[in-house]
Every structure is written in structure tokens, then in C-alpha cells.
Amino acid sequence: MTSVYELMDYAEVIERFDPVLGLEVHVELHTNTKMFCGCANVFGGEPNTQVCPTCLGMPGALPTLNGKAVESAIRIGLALNCEIAEWCRFARKNYFYPDMPKNFQTSQYDEPIAFNGFLDVTLDDGSLFRVEIERAHMEEDTGKSLHVGGSDGRIHGAEHSLLDYNRAGVPLIEIVTKPIEGTGERAPEVARAYVTALRDLLKALDVSDVRMDQGSLRCDANVSLMAKDATEFGTRTETKNVNSLRSVERAVRFEMTRQAAILVAGGKITQETRHFDESTGSTSPGRTKETAEDYRYFPEPDLTPIAPSREWVEELRGTLPELPWERRKRVQDEWSLTDAELRDLVNAGAVDLVAATVDAGATPAEARSWWVAYLTKEANNRGVELSELAITPAQIATVIGLVNSGELTNKLAREVVTGVLEGEGEPEAVIEARGLKVVSDDSALEKAVDEALAAQPDVAAKIRDGKVAAAGAIVGAVMKATKGQADAKRVRELIIARCS
């Protein structure tokens, strides 16, 4: 499907404009319970089974703040090099929308728990780009709507909507960057690298599932363009529904080329929310507001202010795990990686996977060879992230072990891995079901060797004359006869023994 929009060639966009980005990331915390009530915070439950008077907004129900969520918010703030507020409050953001049963969202307004931080992100070439963080604040997620009767599940044309409030009240942290300038042509790459770095950081902190496909990590991308001689930011659009790392990059790039085409044609950018379409890689206008937003924020009277003592903040700082960039530095030293090898490892998103494979018994070189060289290709072919492949580090370590013990050849090992990726079960089960065991039974191999020697008597004669190099032809024949399941080294030994 082609876009209905005029787009400018990307190189020309960069020649004429400077992009400015602002990224808002919402992350669902994986606490046991919701932000303001004791309902379970679990993804995928039967609709409206994790709800109570508080998260349904029943009259008189009062919120009680989840201490663990506050703790996670502070830890996220610290990991993002933010200052932590000495005193802050929640506020009510008032608006009517069916996915919000209370008719207001309990959020933080002008008093975020964390502010003024930064995150250094690694770009594809290994260089660092510093993204400044404006704020990280606490709020609650909304319910989920299902639009019925529309052609594509979207709201346009829907006859009515169905609401599931299991997600209403799930703790959310919204992380907002300051305007990101100076990226030039790398704007789409910086956007992706930032969300990737943030995801890795949140994962290391163990505060969220960070599953973009399940919505536990969501990114809204604000994009605007400044003409080269301009002194003020251009009008921005905010693109939502950007549900994968790749989509972040595509959405930013698309908006840049779309906006540039409008601007050079003398048009104006409409400040609006746009919706990213994965299938076309384009954005389309989303929510249109009849009136300007007027949320009438006011301090939430039912929740007390939060005043984290400096002792508590320092105690939480002490709980920060090794952060991704520290970890990268360490694995480079421990595994003796060159800068290029480290970059490949990081770009493949394989640091944790390789580390876990090493923990499961493989050497770093073996683990890297599988994850970076082989499985990255598999992930690309399947259009998924490396970490989304249906194989675990422990399973890869098992396969590596079987290769080392001679029970699998490299070729068979790849077949086993394919089987696991196809959902055929554990490596052992795949070997069994596909009959992939190396033929190590000498009598079976000897039989195949004898047959091959008998079939090629001239070659056999050469080997008997001491021309050992000729054995290759026999090895090939045996491998063919055993469908590649023989250990070539052992076959060669048997041939030489037979002919001496």
C-alpha cells in the first residue's frame, strides 16, 4: 500500500531542515498490585476480574498508594540521573472518556517525583548520544476499549465500545525527554536507540516487563522540523501506537518526510495526535479535539503528599543493579572483546542472552557465535527481536554442550535449534523426534565405511597405498549415507584403520 501523503526524499529533508524530537515513554510497572488499590496487576486476565470499587471509580471509594510503585519510580529516576523531589503530590486530571471510570486520571502534574536527568544512548556505530530527561512521573493506566462494528477495530465506524477495566489503575511511569536537538539525519536512529536503551535499563532495574507488544512499554513520538535558518521550533505532531523499536524509527522518519513536503509546499503543520500504522509504515490523523484541552488539574485530596527522605533515596540508590552500560563495559573486559565485537553484540541486543548462555555453561565465544552470528539472522528472517525468539539461553547452552561432546555436529545443531524455534520442544525432544543423533555407534559407521570403500575400490586402493588425502571422498560418501549424522573426524579415523 502506498502512502496517501506527499513525502520528501530523506536526504533533501536533512539538507533543508533540522529535526527536533520529544519522546514520551509510558512504562507499566510489574508490581503485584495496582497503583491505588489491591487488585492484581496481571496481563491477560478475563475481562473485569481484577477490579474493585476504587479502580472502577465507585462513589466513596478511596485510593491507597502502592509503596512499591513509589520505590520503583524513585529507582527509575535515579537510574536516569534525575533529581528526586523532596516533596510532591498527585493531581487529578479531569476529563471524560469511557476507558477512565473515575472521570479523572490520578497523575502527577507540576510536581513529578523525578526530574532533570539524562540517558546516554549507544548508536549503531558505537558512539554515545546524550538524551536529556525532563521528568519521570507517576500515574495510572486506563482501561482497555474494544470497538465493535468498525471495519478494522478502530473507533471510526464503530457502533459501540466494550470496556475492560483490568488495566485501569495499573501503575504507570511516564518518562519525558527534553527536546532532542542536533541529531540531524540520525533522528530516527536516536529515537530507536533511546527507547532501546530505556527498555534495557528498565529491564535491568526489574521494574517492568517492558513488552512493547503487550503495551507494557509504549512510546509517543513528538516530531517537528526547523528550517535551517529558523530560531524557533516548528509545530510538532505526536505519533501514538508505536509498538515496536523498529516502528519508533520508522514513525519518526515518516513524519520527517511528510512534514517536510508540507512545509516546502508552503503549508502549515497541524498540531495533532497521529496514529502509526505498522502495515504501511505511515501515520494518519488521530484524536481530533473539539475544544482545547482543559484538564483542570488540582491536587489530589485523597492521597497524602510524598516526601521521600534523603536516607530512603540513598538506600534505594544502593539497590540499583549493574546498569546496562556498566555491564557492557564489564563483559567487554571479561570476554576480551574488541570494540567492534562489543558493538555487534550490543546492536544484536544479545548481551543478556550471551551472558545467560555463559552462565548456563557455554564459553563466551561459543555463546556469541550462536546469538550474534546465527540467531540474529534467524530473528531477522522471522521479523522479531532476538530476545523474542522462542529459544532460551539454557537451550542454546545445551546444544553447545552436545556439540562439544560430539553428540551433535554443527550442522545437526543448527537443525536442533530450528526445531526448538519451530516449537518442537526441548533440544533433546527435537533430536529424538527428528532423529538427529550423531551416529557414534562404531559398528554402524564401520558398515557404512565398508560399503563406501567397496563402492569406490580405486579410492580404497589409493588410501591403502598411503594416499590418506584420498579418504575425503569416502568420508563424503559416508556422510551422505548417514544423512550428515556421522562425526566426520571419527569416520576418517575408521577409514584409515580399515585401510591399514
Binding site: T31, N32, T33, C37, G38, C39, A40, E46, P47, N48, T49, Q50, V51, C52, P53, L56, T64, L65, N66, G67, K68, A69, V70, W87, N94, F96, Y97, P98, D99, S145, L146, H147, V148, G149, R154, I155, A158, H160, S161, L162, L163, D164, Y165, T273, H275, G286, R287, T288, K289, E290, T291, D294, R296, P299, P301, L303, T304, P305, I306, A307
Partner: protein, 99 residues
């Protein structure tokens, strides 16, 4: 000069999804003005060293343990709903806005 205009009352009524007639707008604008003027007298004694009060009781950091408590069942949750379908609350179509 009144501290709240008729237009502002109309705007607030719209935000609150309240249907207010023209006559009511005049009536409420007048009444709200009296209330706001009365409340504004607090401003006469508030000085720079008195911070605005949002909470009457000086408490901070009241937290709940992150322990799951029983939820309502689906049936109970939907019991008061004007309409339900497939275990979900059913609402009329949402016009002109994008979820």
C-alpha cells in the same frame, strides 16, 4: 467586576457535561460569583510566607503494602452497568475521538 463570567460558567458546564439553560447560566454565574468573592477574602490574610494548603492534615508517605487483595468478581463488577457484553461494560459509540 464579577470574578466569574457567564462564558466561563458555560465552559465549565460543558466540561462537566451539564446541560445548563440560558436562564440558569445567569443564575449560576451570579451565585458562583458570590461564593468566589467570599472565598477570596482568605487571600486578604494569606501572605507570601503562608503556602497554599492542599491537605488539612500534615501527613506524608502513607503507603500500602504491595499485597494482592480480592477483587470483585466479573458479575459483581458488571452488576450496576447499564449495559454489558462479553464480560465488558458496553458504552455507546465514542464520537469524534480516537482511543
Amino acid at each position: 467586576m464579577p470574578s466569574i463570567s457567564r462564558d466561563e460558567v458555560a465552559h465549565l458546564a460543558r466540561l462537566a457535561r451539564l446541560a445548563v439553560t440560558d436562564d440558569e447560566l445567569d443564575l449560576f454565574a451570579g451565585q458562583l460569583d458570590v461564593i468566589l468573592q467570599s472565598v477570596a477574602t482568605v487571600g486578604d490574610i494569606a501572605t507570601a510566607d503562608i503556602p497554599p494548603t492542599s491537605h488539612a492534615v500534615p501527613l506524608t508517605n502513607v503507603f500500602r503494602e504491595d499485597v494482592v487483595r480480592p477483587s470483585l468478581g466479573q458479575q459483581q463488577a458488571l452488576a450496576g452497568a447499564p449495559a454489558a457484553e462479553d464480560g465488558r461494560f458496553r458504552v455507546p459509540r465514542i464520537l469524534g475521538e480516537e482511543a
